[in-house]
Amino acid sequence: MVREAQAGRSEGQELTPAIFEMWGASTEVSSAGLSYGLGEVEVESVPVWRLPLPADPAAADRQLLDRQALLDASRSALEGVPESIDRLLESSRSASAGGVAFDLESIPTFTQAEADLLASLQALRQPLLGVSFAVDEEQRGKLEAAFERFSADIDRLLRTVSHFAWVETAVGEKLIARTIVGWDGDADTAWEAESNALEYQDHQRSLSQALASRNIILHAILVTVQSAAKLAALLATPGGVLLALPLAWRFVNQILADVEKIQNLK
């Protein structure tokens, strides 16, 4: 059966990392007179990266630095996922080779996200180890729900990365720049004529962060797919891949959410 994550997460609780929430969709964009060859994209769905900075330059700098730190930490965390998955798989294989269940207490070095994934893997592999497994509608429903969530998340995030977006930077009450940026980097930027060098820099930093966040989103999808391929091999069932994708997606989300927590503590 699909067992929900242990320790600290109640059943059904799903985390959405802040990095995925930085992008919004605003109808205000349409009032600004948008026409960019939208095609099938609805105006309401245009991703917007809006960064209101405080008028105090030092406070604005701190805000940008914090956001950059989160982006850097998220990127770094994603790079560590393949190694983490490998370690988990090795642990899982060695345990199953001995015909014993996982003993999480004896693996104190795993992070919470890793422990959760291990627990899920253990539950899914129990039938292979000879434990009875009752198939019922509830489990089938959970499986479908997990995949639906994964699919919906991916769909939403792909819209963010695959279409042009608005990136706006305001300092205090003043909008200092607006950039229309295509997925591929095409950029049209309107600058406030009276902007100073610091404000130029603020918007460039904000734009850089917006672009970096899009790449992180795509990277998260990539890492999920790669991780799912490994997990599917371990599950060794005809439908393993269908389980592995949402499982991997949840793991990646947890990793990124944990990054945010750590950043908030700093």
Binding site: D186, W191, L211, L222, V225, L235, L242
Partner: protein
């Protein structure tokens, strides 16, 4: 009368590429050769230093095997197609990451005004970059240098000169996709820490009645195979010699199931007359045991006798291979015949242009994952490579270089033994010729031998990144199916960009872990629930793949150009974006870059002067856009190919 032999067969006639020459003739050639004084001085310095136990290569405190100490650079011709740089971006960025951990000066991209300029010698080039002769200071110029360009744009002679001091390799392909494929193979192999089985194969042809290959198999390949069998107990050392060395056996080891990590071959290389239709595609191809020898076959050679680029199938498994092929023209062909330079008083053209051999090009850029490096010969390969008059067999250079490769030295550092030999022979030869000019009576055979050995040692080249290493495991393991790599899909300069899926993807583990696990076909009672659930979710998965595919297609369509526009407005909040541009704002700067290099630039003015502050901001936005696009394409391609592989049957 002593006669000299070299490897090379004219495929159009079945005769040797050059007639056997007497030592007296060669000696006369050597005595008449114009020497490059600066080059000779460099070679002498190297030889003298090494004779005293000193060290050339990198500076003493630098570990040449450590890329983060020795540095890495890439060199383009000054007018190189910018698309080549873009196609190689994955490799360049990967090396940059590796090198910049310690010192940003250890990484260099030499292009445009910093690139190679026509007619430059090695010394001219280095002087322009404030680098003098002697041991390499990698903070001034990295030790590992990859030349990206044809031998017409950056000559072979420049490469061999540069190689005396640095560890140099070259890549050149006919299209941008192949550059990207090679870059991706190298990066993938290193990122996944590819662990091929510890296997080296020695392939030695010995055609009937042919003294050259008889010599190479008896004095080079077989002794090397025996020595390595003795020295490397934890390696599989395979010898495919003489009658066994047929084309089909080579095919098995060049992309087939028996492909080792390290392949060493010795054979004739195919040569064709100037302008022959087969010269470009087949010159340097490896002539196998199938050729019955000069006495039994005196007519054009069919391709059944030799292994050429088009013998490598689409599904060949070469990923990670390093090949060392001793054969005439194995690595490439110069335009001018240096051998005939003084003998015939005029340098004849042997090809319409200098070119790289097609076989290594195809090996390096193979769509299923390429070889990492190819070591071969430009121009003729000589028996002096491993035999010396009155001294007999000389294998130390080969043995040392192969040992270094097996010990995972970067290929550029491992091949330093050949550069040392070149320096030593050149130094000795110049002294001898100087003595002759003052009246010394010299032995023709000695002069001829040193001259040919000198040219021979000089002409060993690395095709590929000189920083790659042999990617083998830490212990002897059973052979497993070789991993494959997905080729990065790059836009083509003209026409619609194409996406070329190149076989199953790699992932980051051996195939045994990516493929169905043992027992995957067994239904443990879960089959029904998964099948039923699968029926519901598979349509969602299909849509996801479709969406990612659409995204990638759009990405490639859009990637043919990049546009960055900078406007200024009195009230940004009221600006509208209509028909692809802002209204209510003044367009002040615009840059439109097409993939083929065409660039449209509008520069902002302020009262007749260039608005430098706005221009600077605009350029920064352009750089940001370029970097962002590169990153996004790279990640998108990996995601799409990974997912496609995940759901394929």
């Amino acid at each position: 009368m002593e006669e000299l032999f070299f490897n090379g067969i004219d495929g159009s006639t079945g005769n040797y590429l050059l007639p056997r020459l007497t030592a007296a003739t060669l000696s006369a050639i050597a005595r008449g050769e114009v020497q490059d004084e600066a080059l000779l001085a460099e070679l002498k310095r190297r030889h003298e230093l090494e004779s005293l136990g000193g060290h050339y290569g990198v500076a003493g405190e630098v570990d040449p095997a450590d890329l983060s100490q020795a540095g890495w650079g890439i060199l383009f011709a000054h007018d190189a197609d910018p698309g080549v740089r873009e196609a190689l971006a994955e490799l360049i960025e990967w090396r940059r990451e590796q090198v910049l951990q310690k010192d940003e000066r250890l990484f260099k991209e030499l292009s445009g005004p910093d690139g190679y300029r026509p007619g430059e010698s090695k010394n001219d080039f280095l002087s322009r970059h404030s680098v003098g002769p002697g041991a390499v200071d990698p903070t001034k110029m990295p030790y590992y240098l990859l030349i990206a360009g044809s031998p017409e744009s950056i000559p072979y002679r420049f490469q061999t000169q540069l190689d005396i001091q640095f560890a140099v390799g070259r890549i050149h392909f006919d299209n941008l996709e192949d550059y990207a494929r090679y870059a991706h193979s190298v990066v993938e192999a290193e990122k996944m820490n590819l662990a091929l089985p510890r296997k080296i194969t020695f392939f030695g042809v010995s055609n009937p009645d042919d003294r050259a290959t008889g010599l190479s198999v008896e004095e080079l390949v077989q002794p090397l195979a025996e020595a390595f069998t003795e020295d490397y107990k934890d390696w599989t050392v395979e010898a495919v010699l003489k009658d066994a060395a047929t084309k089909s056996e080579l095919a098995s080891r060049l992309g087939g199931p028996g492909t080792p990590g390290l392949l060493f071959t010795a054979s004739h290389g195919m040569g064709f007359p100037y302008g022959d239709a087969r010269q470009l595609p087949h010159q340097g191809a490896l002539l196998c045991q199938d050729w019955p020898g000069p006495n039994n076959w005196r007519k054009p050679l069919p391709q059944d006798f030799y292994f050429a680029a088009d013998d490598l199938p689409e599904d060949a498994h070469l990923f990670g291979l390093i090949a060392f092929c001793f054969a005439c023209y194995g690595a490439g062909t110069p335009r001018l015949d240096e051998f005939a330079q003084q003998a015939f008083k005029a340098r004849t053209e042997i090809a319409p242009q200098a070119f790289l051999a097609s076989l290594p090009q195809r090996m390096l850029a193979h769509p299923k994952g390429g070889a990492l490096a190819f070591v071969g010969h430009v121009d003729r390969a000589w028996g002096y490579s491993f035999m010396w008059p009155k001294a007999g067999r000389q294998l130390t250079v080969f043995r040392s270089a192969l040992s270094q490769l097996m010990n995972k030295y970067p290929v550029g550092a491992a091949l330093e033994f050949f550069n040392e030999k070149y320096a030593e022979i050149s130094s000795d030869l110049s002294v001898l010729l100087e003595d002759i000019s003052f009246g010394k009576t010299a032995d023709d055979l000695e002069v001829a031998g040193m001259w040919t050995a000198n040219n021979d040692a000089r002409n060993y080249l690395i095709l590929g990144d000189p920083a790659v290493r042999l990617m083998v495991g830490e212990k002897m393991e059973p052979e497993v199916e070789r991993p494959e790599v997905i080729t990065i899909i790059k836009p083509i300069p003209s026409g619609r960009p194409t996406a070329t899926p190149m076989g199953p993807p790699v992932g980051t583990q051996p195939p045994s872990a990516t493929g169905p696990a043992p027992g995957a076909a067994i239904d443990y009672g879960l089959g029904d629930v998964f099948r039923q659930a699968g029926a519901n979710v598979s349509s969602g998965l299909g849509k996801l793949v479709e969406r990612l595919g659409d995204f990638l297609g759009k990405a490639l369509d859009d990637a043919a150009s990049l546009e960055v526009a900078t406007y200024v407005s009195r009230d940004v909040a009221k600006c509208k974006f209509e028909e692809g541009r802002f209204t209510g704002a003044d367009l002040r700067a615009l840059t439109h870059v097409k993939i083929d290099g065409d660039t449209l630039v509008c520069v902002p003015e302020d009262a007749g002067e260039v608005d430098t502050e706005l221009w600077r901001i605009h350029l920064e936005m352009l750089a940001q856009a370029q970097n962002s696009r590169m990153e996004l394409i790279k990640t998108a391609i990996s995601a799409v190919t990974g997912l496609a592989n995940l759901i394929k049957p």
